[in-house]
Symmetry: C2
Subunit: 337 residues, 2 copies
DNA sequence: AGACCATGCACAAACGATTGCGCAAAACAG
DNA sequence: CTGTTTTGCGCAATCGTTTGTGCATGGTCT
């Protein structure tokens, strides 16, 4: 019934030294040739008092925390929530845990989060970066394994796993063109972010190649932005465009609400297509055709890449070559265009 | 230039002892009457080398971690994602951070998560419990401040902040009744969970009082369950019910997909009403009337309650009386019934 | 019997911060 | 000039682990 529950207590109760107890309980018994008898007594006592090592002390001593920092631009965004879910599940499977941070699309908060991660001795970081330039992340990456996901930087040695936004947007635009749409409006998200830039490129390339009228407006992955831009685009002329490509499902929702307000019926008067994989797109009326990103796969690759870096670090090896991977998204065809 | 960045390094470079440096940098200078000169030199050096305390060591010594554990049944569920977002924001504002865990509706994983929290020395826990009984949580609560949110237990001394699910369901059912619906089907979630039981009670009370036909089916807060139950209920007779009350937005989506498949138009042939506050309900066609829960408020109360417990603990005071609060949800009226 | 090796374990120093206690030197009083 | 107080700071223990090193004991070999 000893109140304390640490190695010292077990040591006292079994008569073996703290070091022996430690070695037994951390599975290093044979490496240090501990007797079968000692092993038996120590493990029994450990079970009896339900010993669990103090991870803080362990972390201080070993400089490992079994913790990975995850920073996203907005955990309330279902897209990032799903990403967090996938990543957390992967980490837990490997015996790691998630220290969560939300940068709220704010570079300063992102930096604060990453400093906090360092202060807390996380073993690695997975980030959806919001900073305009990669310098800070590159600096951190020298000290702590770091993998970017969903967003990345232009010319950088940082590792990332993202979906091929150029290909996705190209597919979507081509699909609209093939369907016969002639004047297509894209409502974009944060203009400086890499996914957005790539989507704009893909969109424009596909339509220029086909000589189809197109325009890009907007500046945020938000419902408000979708609503505002759709209102502005259609309020003068309900037939200003015959299709809308929303760069996120939030934008889509805003745009649809604007269309309805203007008496325009999505899917009939104006075709709509969207980016993102929110399941509810299937339950809208009409169900929304969209570019889906393989989040599960992306999360898995990010985590396994991170682990490979962490392992190299533990082994004292040099940092492996960066992994920079673009996953191909898929076009999910429904009835909205 | 020094490679290390700890108190010892600053101590060496300034010529003051580690203890003095520690006291200066943790703001206890006057308490220990450190000279102005020492304060100046130490803080300057600390800034120069950008000193940041090692939180792991700090945590080991002080038994505080500035960390709160948050366990939810599914971070990919937008409802819990929003909850996590609100709670995390509150915590960060107070200088705390979030250690995240996902029980996936699984009592065993919930226990694992909470043990992990204890091993990592979190200062408090906020949980959406999934266990069938409160015993484990009550035990933990003796060691670590704990506040439940969204779900709670029946007769328990644990603190919780939840929405008044009885009132919410009662409101919704009454609204349907007042609109003239005569045969109402509720599709429920996890039957054993407190919110679900309260919703069933509210639903049945409201309709029994008014002598209106009603039934409750289903067993999970999932799309599949909604779909399955709606199919089963309507496939024999498309007019079996004239309204559906979905106990979550996921259930709603499943039910709607079933209705469409059967050629039944929601809002016209069958009224629908839902629980939950997913913004996209406004963008469905017709927009869905629903019972919304004040998540922001709930999160704030949970966090401030938790902090009050943590403070009492630090001060060595006895655990304050439990806070058990039900917040009234609101009925958001749209066009689906 | 002496040299040698394998065995089984304990000692003590880390990791980096906090903190009770006490020690010098300076200041002051008598 | 001695005794007391104040000022300013350092010593060393502590949190709970991990781990390099070393020391007995007992057995084997020549």
């Amino acid at each position: 019934m000893g109140n304390k529950n640490n190695l010292a207590a077990i040591s006292e109760r079994t008569g073996y030294s703290v070091s022996t107890v430690s070695r037994v309980l951390s599975g290093k018994a044979e490496k240090y040739r501990i007797s079968a008898e000692a092993i038996a007594k120590v493990t029994e006592e450990a079970h009896r008092c339900n010993y669990r090592p103090n991870l803080v002390a362990q972390s201080l001593r070993t400089r490992q925390s079994q913790t990975v920092g995850l920073v996203v631009p907005g955990i309330d965004n279902p897209f990032f929530a799903t990403l967090a879910s996938v990543i957390n599940a992967q980490l837990v499977q490997h015996g790691y845990h998630t220290l969560l941070a939300d940068s709220r699309e704010n570079p300063e908060e992102e930096i604060q989060a990453m400093e906090m991660f360092q202060d807390r001795n996380v073993d690695g970081i997975i980030a959806v970066p919001v900073a305009p330039t990669p310098e800070y992340h590159e600096r951190v990456s020298q000290d702590i394994p770091l993998v970017l996901i969903d967003r990345y930087f232009d010319k950088t040695s940082l590792s990332y796993v993202c979906t091929d936004n150029y290909a996705g947007a190209y597919m979507a635009a081509k699909y609209l063109a093939d369907k016969g749409y002639k004047r297509i409006l894209a409502i974009q998200g944060v203009p400086a972010s890499m996914p957005n830039r790539e989507r704009v490129r893909g969109f424009q390339d596909a339509l220029h190649e086909r000589g189809i009228e197109n325009q890009v407006r907007g500046d945020a992955f938000s419902v408000e932005n979708g609503r505002r831009e759709a209102l502005a685009a259609f309020s003068g002329n309900p037939k200003a465009y015959d299709a809308i490509f929303a760069f996120s499902s939030t934008i889509l929702l805003g745009a649809i609400s604007a269309l309805r307000r203007l008496g325009i019926t999505e899917g009939k008067d104006v075709g709509v297509i969207s980016y993102d994989n929110n399941g509810f797109l299937d339950f809208m009326n009409p169900a929304v055709t969209r570019v889906e990103q393989p989040l599960q796969e992306a999360g898995e690759i990010a985590v396994s890449t991170l682990f490979s870096f962490m392992e190299a670090r533990r082994a004292g090896l040099p940092h492996p070559a960066p992994v920079q991977q673009l996953i191909r998204p898929t076009l999910v065809i429904r009835e909205s265009c």
